[in-house]
């Protein structure tokens, strides 16, 4: 039982990170209606920016802010030059998928060019200490991830529900034509959405990198977990991303422990989850029913 609890808590800690990545995906989905297959690579890229600043001697928190700012710019730029000109993702899913895959290749290659293929090590933001909860040791790093996630969700909630800007972003996501007819500069808001999503991805990267080692394929598996999280939670729901993240984290940590076939494939439960949810409840737990429209 204690063993189970230990694994579960580890999973929930991981889940917080999946949820962060999921938040970025949800922000983009909510503001543009598309799934960004390059989200993970963009997060990897901005995590490298954090690492660079940190290894140049900046304090970690400043480096993270710098990385978020860098990520924001990359995201906004990517939207302006690559995503926006392609057009409506609902009308041309293939073109948009190809563009985000092009981004995937491009950003990954750029990171390899700049930082090489060796893994870098990054210190855990909350140190290597542990605390004992219910007789189970939990790393501060995991607790920190949950807290940071909580703060991020709160900020996004405030943005979307209590500011004019957030209201405008929601209007754009729901009906961009109507939004532009009330005077909302739609392209600029979409750019902002991409920037925000990339900034959030930075935080996810900063939490994952100490675990996996910071390399250019840092995010490729993590992205699938992030997708699983938002598929379960609903593509357009912030709360869904969080709940989904925790569930996916817990499943991917617990299942391989008890079911041998998943031992080398912690990704498999996430995959099965994606498939099952899309088949039986495509809008997810908290999403609005509109997925089927695509």
């Amino acid at each position: 039982m204690k063993d189970f609890l230990q694994i579960l808590l580890v999973g929930i800690g991981d889940g917080a990170v999946y949820a962060m990545l999921g938040l970025g995906l949800v922000v983009i989905y909510r503001s543009t209606g598309l799934l960004n297959f390059a989200q993970g690579e963009m997060a990897m890229f901005s995590t490298f920016i954090v690492w660079t600043m940190w290894s140049l001697g900046l304090p970690m928190w400043l480096a993270i802010l710098g990385g978020m700012a860098g990520g924001f710019c990359v995201g906004a730029l990517v939207h302006q030059v690559a995503v926006r000109p392609v057009g409506d993702p609902h009308e041309k899913p293939l073109a948009v998928v190809i563009v985000t895959i092009g981004l995937f290749l491009g950003v990954n290659g750029a990171a390899q060019l700049i930082w090489g293929t060796l893994d870098r090590s990054m210190p855990p933001l909350f140190g290597r200490g542990q605390v004992t909860v219910f007789g189970v040791a939990v790393a501060w790093q995991k607790i920190g991830a949950v807290i940071v996630l909580g703060v991020m969700v709160l900020l996004f909630y405030l943005l979307f529900q209590h500011t004019k800007l957030g209201l405008a972003m929601r209007a754009v996501a729901s009906n961009s034509e109507s939004a532009s007819l009330v005077g909302i500069p739609v392209p600029r808001l979409l750019m902002l959405g991409w920037g925000l999503a990339a900034a959030v991805g930075t935080v996810a990267g900063v939490f994952i990198a100490p675990n996996l080692g910071l390399g250019t394929n840092l995010m490729q598996l993590t992205l699938i977990f992030g997708f699983a999280a938002i598929t379960l939670g609903g593509f357009d729901s912030l709360v869904g991303a969080v709940v989904g993240g925790f569930v996916v984290g817990a499943l991917s940590s617990v299942m391989p422990r008890y079911i041998t076939i998943f031992e080398k494939m912690p990704l498999a439960p996430a995959f099965i989850l994606i498939l099952a949810v899309l088949l039986f409840r495509p809008e997810g737990l908290f999403g609005k029913k509109q997925v089927t429209r695509v």
Partner: protein
């Protein structure tokens, strides 16, 4: 070349036009026939790999280009074909090309399995599921290392007569024709299979079935109401597409003689997709052109670059993909067709310069994004 353009655009069919239409194909086949004798062996080996890629891209094109179902997971189907071939030959002593046929069948079934959820999942979401399949596949190979050899790889062997006794030896495609090297022989075998597959898919697309594929892509509801069994069409297309990709994978296995999970990552899936969109989705020959493009790019151009900037290859491909979607969403073939149409429009307008009415005029600046002709 410009003569063939007019022939293609012309409505009239005279024997001369017909000859102009056939001529490029004759030239192409002559070139294809000479190629293995003009290049060193390692190049001919590379050409064989390009053909396996072209076959897989042809399969993906049926699905994505003509039927509108997006798959980012065809690398996994290619891998299933490769490993099925490897295992059948090594474990069960199936003859080499017998294994290819069996791989096609296995992949057909796998495609149907993946296609089942595709009945309910579309567009971006289907891309998501297939992406997950592609990411999962190499992990599956490592999980079932008992039959796949895991990350240590699968050496494909068959019983062969060696120094007077039958032994398990690495497979080889030996040339039965005097004067043809082994790699040249392999080249022609692969070429034959590739050509047959492309011709068969062309015939499929031109048939009634092919038109129903396109009808389903363009408007499912309309297709349904005009009596097309949409679900069946989608599922069978998935199966066929997978089977073709599987044949590509099977040839890849015969070509390489050994298989590693690292060859079948998401990156492979992306490259197959690259071949389709660069060449031109929803054109028959497009995937072949795209595969050659990819081959030239990664086996020739990239090799010229200094080692330090090798990753630039991914950057270049990525940027290229994006530019392509923005500027020429129809790929090389689509771009060529557009030029051809413009050219013939200009010709006809100069011919009829006395008349006020010309081709359709475009109102205002073009809309923000070009359309995907896929």
């Amino acid at each position: 070349m410009s003569n063939t353009v007019t022939a293609g655009a012309s409505v009239h069919r005279s024997p001369g036009d017909w000859a102009l239409k056939v001529a490029p194909w004759v030239v192409l086949f002559v070139i294809l026939a000479i190629v293995p004798f003009q290049f060193p062996s390692f190049r001919v080996e590379q050409f064989c790999f390009w053909m396996t890629l072209a076959i897989a891209a042809c399969g993906l094109n049926l699905l994505t280009g003509y039927n509108g179902q997006i798959s980012v997971g065809h690398g996994a189907l290619f891998g299933i074909g490769a490993y099925t071939t490897g295992i059948l030959i090594t474990e069960f002593g199936v003859p080499l090309f017998g294994a290819t046929v069996a791989s096609a069948v296995v992949c057909f079934a796998a495609g149907i399995l993946i296609g089942l959820p595709a009945l309910r999942i579309k567009g971006l979401y289907l891309a998501l599921v297939t992406l997950a399949v592609a990411t999962l596949f190499p992990l599956l190979l490592e999980q079932f290392s008992a039959i796949t050899g895991g990350s240590g790889g699968l050496q494909i062997t068959s019983p062969q007569l060696y120094r007077g006794e039958m032994r398990e030896r690495p497979i080889r495609l030996e040339s039965p024709v005097a004067g043809l090297e082994n790699d040249q022989w392999k080249y022609f075998v692969f070429l034959g299979i590739t050509v047959v597959i492309f011709i068969l898919s062309r015939n499929l697309i031109k048939s009634r079935v092919g038109r129903s594929l396109v009808a389903v892509r363009d408007n499912e509801v309309a297709a349904e109401s005009s009596g097309i069994p949409v679900s069946q069409v989608k599922i069978v297309t998935f199966g066929l597409s997978a089977a073709i990709a599987g044949i590509g994978g099977s040839l890849f296995a015969l070509d390489q003689g050994q298989l590693y999970p690292s060859s079948f990552t998401i990156v492979l899936s992306i490259y197959i997709l690259v071949a389709v969109v660069v060449g031109g989705a929803a054109s028959i020959i497009g995937p072949a052109i795209g595969a050659v493009f990819y081959g030239l790019f990664s086996d020739v151009i990239v090799q010229q670059m200094p080692d330090r900037i090798q990753p630039a290859r991914a950057v270049i491909l990525g940027v290229l993909l994006i530019l392509l979607m923005l500027l020429a969403p129809g790929g090389i073939v689509g771009g060529f067709r557009t030029l051809q149409a413009k050219w013939s429009a200009r010709r006809s307008s100069t011919h009829s310069s006395g008349l006020a009415v010309t081709g359709p005029s475009v109102t205002g600046p073009p809309a923000a994004g070009p359309e995907v002709t896929a």
